[in-house]
């Protein structure tokens, strides 16, 4: 016995989402059938709008409704610092900190030859262009993840940028604030001891 075509298509669509297999997709599809009409309409509109009304900022690569994005357009921000992140969602996390007032740049991933991602597949050319055009640029802060790929990407960027005389820095590794030492794993502790600071 086959599912009727509309629900089969819906299951197939849900399965395209990350982390959702056939069983979860089927559950979600049947839940959707029981949802109120208004909710379903709003849901489908949100889906389409997210795709149609959002673009990548032509300067920094952030997701935005208007181009350039709100951060790039804000001239009161510190124009001499750029913080480089892997994903657009990392910008939101950084902004929550409310302490950084410089600019951002989104790479859209990290270099990983295994996944077929080389330097040319990342948003690097526009970063270099940006740095060349901005004579006030003092510092590039690299905030890629602490994975081997993130480290390799960070090192690649620093070698690319440093010859231009711009300072390149990397986020610190170590203990998370407010946590107990006894719960930290050995490698985090090792990094924390390695990166200790004088008091």
């Amino acid at each position: 016995m086959q599912y009727p075509e509309p629900i089969a298509q819906l299951i197939d669509s849900y399965m395209k989402l990350p982390g959702i297999g056939q069983k979860s997709a089927t559950r979600l599809a049947f839940f959707t059938i029981d949802m109120a009409d208004d909710d379903v309409t709003a849901f489908s509109k949100a889906l389409v709008s997210a795709k149609r009304d959002l673009h990548y900022c032509s300067i920094c690569g952030n997701i935005t409704e208007s181009d350039p994005c709100a951060i790039c357009a804000d001239k009161t921000r510190d124009q001499s610092h750029v913080l480089v992140v892997e994903q657009a969602k990392d910008i939101m996390v950084m902004e929550k900190m409310k302490e950084y007032h410089g600019l951002y740049h989104v790479l859209h991933g990290v270099m990983s030859p295994i996944e077929g991602k080389g330097p040319e597949d990342l948003n690097i050319t526009s970063l270099i262009n940006r740095l060349q055009k901005n004579p006030d640029m003092k510092e590039v802060i690299i905030a890629t993840n602490a994975t081997p790929e993130g480290e390799a990407t960070a090192m690649y960027l620093s070698r690319l940028i440093k010859p231009a005389g711009i300072k390149v820095t990397r986020l610190a590794h170590g203990l998370s604030v407010g946590s107990d030492i006894e719960y930290a794993d050995e490698m985090t502790l090792f990094k924390a001891v390695e990166g200790r600071t004088e008091m």
């Binding site: 270099m111 030859p113 295994i114 081997p148 790929e149 090192m155 690649y156 070698r159 490698m187």
Partner: protein, 384 residues
């Protein structure tokens, strides 16, 4: 530490067994295909929750039963702990001190064992990958930083090999990214080499003493870490890293042509030398056995040095492969130190007066009987 008692239920060809074990040497005596190795396997399983002989836990359960149980009591310097493992179709459950453990990682480590079986000769005779795996397994167990460096190195190696292959096919050659991968690989590679050298030095120290003992001071065992890094630069990680970087520079054209990484700890080897000659190529069968045995026994002392307790030693059919003098010295080397389980088909090789109170168990067709006591357990019906 030592295992004080062992109980089996529906494990392999044992319907049930309940044994009081001696803290010294325990001899499992019996004909072929009676269940001697199954008993060793039970102890190995009790320690590590998995078998060295099969990847499928269900093979451990007796053909006529649904669940198998292995339990025992481990005596350590700080007191004794009961351990219990149950295997069924639903999986395995592990209990420490009668409390069920949610994660097997919390269970493993309660009982440490070192197994020496005839297959372990491959450490000496086999391909370099066997020796690299040996180093990685042993040192990784004792040092979490080694394990971390190793996993980072493996990831980077995969990335770099892939990138070298990509460079072969593409017109556009971004060698800057290759240099980044190379430098990172060199940094982790240097850490791994430095740690291997440090641990090998300790292991060599213990292995040398044991080897001298077994060979009656006639032979000297030395370790040689075979790597492309020049010997005079094998010092601290920074120097090794610089040497590796230089090697990568020299090999770059060849690596680009071959599309793979040709230098680093993943291509290194460990050579065992007896009186200065490589045992793998120039040693006799007996010398190769003695070397493998010395290295394995040295692990006992290294584990004591690193963890503070002696592990339990399991020797599977090792005695028959050694001559009388080597047997005697092996038994001398482990006596009074480590609880040992030996499987053998006859006692004739073992000079009985040398072993201080060996506990002897007669193994026959799925039953174990301690020497001089009444039979315990039901006689099994033949399985096959």
């Amino acid at each position: 530490m030592y295992l004080q008692e062992l109980q089996l239920q529906h494990f392999r060809n044992y319907p049930s067994a309940d044994l009081e074990l001696g803290p010294g040497i325990n001899v499992l005596l019996g004909e072929n295909a009676q269940g001697k190795t199954n008993l060793l396997e039970a102890i190995y399983v009790l320690a590590l929750t998995r078998s060295h002989r099969t990847a499928n836990d269900h093979d451990l359960v007796n053909w006529e039963a649904k669940t198998a149980k292995v339990s025992g009591r481990v005596v350590k310097s700080v007191g004794s702990v009961p351990l219990e493992l149950t295997f069924s179709r639903q999986g395995k459950r592990a209990k420490v001190n009668h409390l069920e453990q949610a994660r097997l990682s919390q269970y493993i480590g309660q009982l440490n064992v070192i197994l020496f079986a005839p297959e372990d000769l491959a450490i000496v005779k086999g391909a370099p990958t066997v020796r690299r795996r040996f180093m990685d397994m042993e040192f990784g167990q004792m040092n979490p930083r080694y394990l971390y460096n190793l996993s980072q190195y493996r990831t980077l190696l995969k990335q770099r090999n892939r990138y070298l292959k990509d460079l072969q096919h593409k017109q556009n050659r971004d060698l800057l990214f290759l240099s980044v991968l190379t430098d990172q690989l060199a940094a982790y590679g240097a850490e791994i080499i430095a740690q291997r050298l440090r641990m090998l030095h300790k292991l060599e120290h213990w292995a040398q003493a044991i080897h001298a003992e077994i060979s009656q001071q006639k032979e000297e065992l030395t370790f040689h870490y075979a790597t492309q890094v020049p010997e005079d630069q094998l010092t601290d990680p920074d120097t090794i890293c610089a040497a590796l970087t230089q090697l990568y520079k020299e090999h770059q054209d060849k690596e680009l042509y071959r599309g793979t990484t040709l230098v680093g700890p993943h291509r290194d080897d460990l050579h065992f030398r007896v009186n200065g000659k490589n045992v793998q190529t120039f040693g006799s069968q007996g010398q190769q056995r003695t070397t493998a045995l010395s290295v394995k026994l040295a692990e006992i002392d290294l584990m004591k040095e690193e963890t503070g307790e002696y592990p339990v030693l399991l020797l599977d059919d090792v005695l028959s492969e050694l001559d009388d003098a080597r047997q005697t010295h092996l038994l001398k080397a482990i006596q009074d130190k480590v609880q040992t389980f030996i499987t053998t088909t006859s006692l004739s090789g073992i000079t009985r007066q040398l072993i201080k109170d060996p506990t002897i168990f007669h193994v026959a067709n799925g039953t174990v009987v301690a020497d001089g006591s009444a039979p315990s357990g039901d006689p099994a019906t033949k399985e096959d």
